[in-house]
């Protein structure tokens, strides 16, 4: 069923927000104001949004170290995220988590996770909770091609099959596990095939095509909600930046990113598609672009001027009570 215009516009807004959030971080990181490691999601937006457009706040997702896109797609507050990445006291996690640990349970966001393969078992747990409560909700485990080589992910997939848990495993194959090609590190190069080996339906889709991801997720979701158990979606995508900011990307051909920005840019592909089919007019899309740019400007300005945590914050939030 085709999406109505307001949903299409919302999807575009989410993808555009992720893109500009990340492109702006890429610039701001050069100033040295942002502490630590940052892994950017630019290029993969259609996956996060194609999946999360199906979900509401009571559905769950577990994210990865490259998590900003998932957070935005699941509804986390953009300014709160920016403050968190700057390590500010009013950040979404009070400046104690940072880029790799953004979470918001009120949005069903179980957390970015700095351990590759850490999230899928957690997502299956959330799915078990949904099943026990019979609330009709689902849990999505995001991971990259790197995570598909972690034993914890296999454990989670098998457990989900055994328990018929309403879990959906989304593997974003962006071609690289850190600084190593997936064509080297993923034994069969067939992640969906691995998932089928565990006894769950799996399909591969074009991760730069929002509509393809959205359709695949629709099928997986219907199965999960109807007691059909878990599914896997393998989305072929690309990242426009390095593994982390500052990565010189010596493992990629010099023109690869430029080529991918030409041919695999999910925003461009989305705009072309909706224009071709006269689903949205370009003025509406341009208006979204302007709103998003203003939002990112405001969030960076807010993050820059926000206060850092205090010394007393060091010792709080370890336990609920001790």
């Amino acid at each position: 069923m085709p999406l109505p215009p307001d949903r299409l516009l919302r999807a575009y807004r989410q993808m555009k927000t992720i893109r500009e959030f990340e492109e702006r971080l890429h610039v701001e990181i050069q100033t040295g104001e942002i502490p630590g490691f940052t892994h950017l999601y630019s290029g993969q937006e259609a996956v996060a949004v194609g999946i999360c457009e199906h979900l509401d706040d009571a559905d769950w997702i577990a994210s990865t170290h490259r998590g900003h896109g998932h957070c935005i797609a699941k509804g986390c507050d953009v300014t709160g995220m920016m403050l968190e990445i700057y390590g500010r006291r009013d950040g979404l996690c009070k400046g104690k988590g940072g880029s790799m640990h953004i979470a918001d349970m009120s949005k069903g966001m179980l957390g970015a996770n700095a351990i590759v393969g850490g999230g899928p078992p957690i997502a299956v747990g959330a799915a078990i909770a949904c099943k026990a409560r019979r609330d009709g909700k689902v849990a999505v485990a995001f991971g990259g091609d790197g995570s598909c080589n972690q034993g914890t992910v296999f454990e989670a997939m098998n457990l989900a099959v055994v328990l018929k848990a309403p879990a959906i495993f989304v593997f974003e194959d962006n071609g690289y596990s850190e600084h190593t090609g997936a064509d080297y590190a993923v034994g069969s190069r067939d992640i969906a095939g691995r998932a089928r080996g565990f006894g769950m339906p799996a399909e591969t889709c074009d991760g730069s095509d929002f509509f393809a991801v959205h359709a695949a997720m629709g099928r997986a979701l219907e199965r999960a909600r109807n007691g059909g158990g878990p599914s896997t979606i393998e989305a072929k995508t690309t990242r426009f930046f390095g593994h982390f900011e500052g990565d010189p990307m010596l493992y990629r051909a010099k023109d690869e990113v430029a080529r991918h920005r030409e041919t695999m840019d999910c925003l461009r592909i989305f705009r072309a598609r909706v224009s071709e089919r006269s689903l949205l007019d370009s003025a509406a899309l341009d208006a979204v672009d302007a709103e998003v740019m203003a939002l990112i400007d405001r969030s960076v300005a807010a993050a820059r001027s926000a206060a850092p945590p205090t010394a007393a914050d060091l010792l709080t939030d370890v336990y609920v009570s001790y």
Binding site: W60, A62, G91, L92, C93, K94, G95, K96, G97, H101, A103, D104, M105, L110, G111, N113, A114, I115, G118, P120, P121, I122, A123, V124, G125, A126, A127, I128, A129, C130, K131, A132, R133, R134, A139, G151, T152, E155, A156, N158, L159, V162, L163, T316, D317, V318, Y319, V320, S321, Y322
Partner: protein, 336 residues
Amino acid sequence: MRQLSMRDAINEALHLEMARDPRVIVLGEDVSGGAGGTSGQRDAAGGVFGVTKGLLPKFGEDRVIDTPISESAIIGAANGAALAGMRPVAELMFADFLGVCFDQVFNQAAKFRYMFGGKTACPIVIRTATGAGMNMGAQHSQSMYALVTAVPGLKVVVPSNAYDAKGLMLTAIRDDDPVVFFEHKAIYPRKGAVPEGDYTIPFGEAALVREGEHVTVVAIGRMVSFAEKALDALAAEGITADLIDPRTLSPLDDETIYESLENTGRLVIVDESPPRCSVASDIAALVASNAFHALKAPIVQITAPHTPVPFARELERAYVPSPQSIEAAIRRLVKQ
């Protein structure tokens, strides 16, 4: 009063809390048992030590969940279910298997609350069988509690008897923080007086098992009963002791130890873990830092040696501190 084994006391706590709170779920390998298989009999195990027996027939498969042998997925699923509003009790069949799933314990459960700015909690209980004494070899017999006691964000419980085990388990499930609950497999069958119904024992409050004047003995888990045997033998010589069972290692009730030392001036710590970076050495360091003035003699630590747990009966007996070795050490210290 009614006598129950520690196994049955913990089982009763699980029954009570699952009946009281629909958010409590139990998951792990063979927690029910008999899923699949050719006999069709469910609840075929009730946990490898029988601690979760009878839960499945009462609470059903959505709440009593038999898992594959996948420790990372078990603890990870408990974490995710807790974040999503449940109160999972995960069984890690043997504490040694912490080695398989440690990421979900110390990188995930322990850190969610802090990393997420205090906006969430992870109320899980990891129940696990601990300790030597049953000739189960080096990978099924360790006392790993120092590893988790060292991790901020975790709470650590080591009951020494049936009464405490029930009350501490009810506290553990109701606690909003992640708790690792070590059940010594050699004392599962040991019976003690256990009241029916609901009672809790607060974390961070040591039990003063005995009062005496010559020495303070701090013993952990199974070593509490070994220390009692040693003190029974020493009573004939007129030697008496404060015997302290910390019950929870994190939080640790160190104040009770300092107060006792003000009277006795001598400290013996008994722990069946190896000695380096152990709970025994941690308590010794705390006392040396905070109650040095009260000490009349060097602190004595009675521990296992710096070796893996051996298999043969003779070797394992030599590995674990014995009532006799505790008795001799106390006598030496008091007569010094």
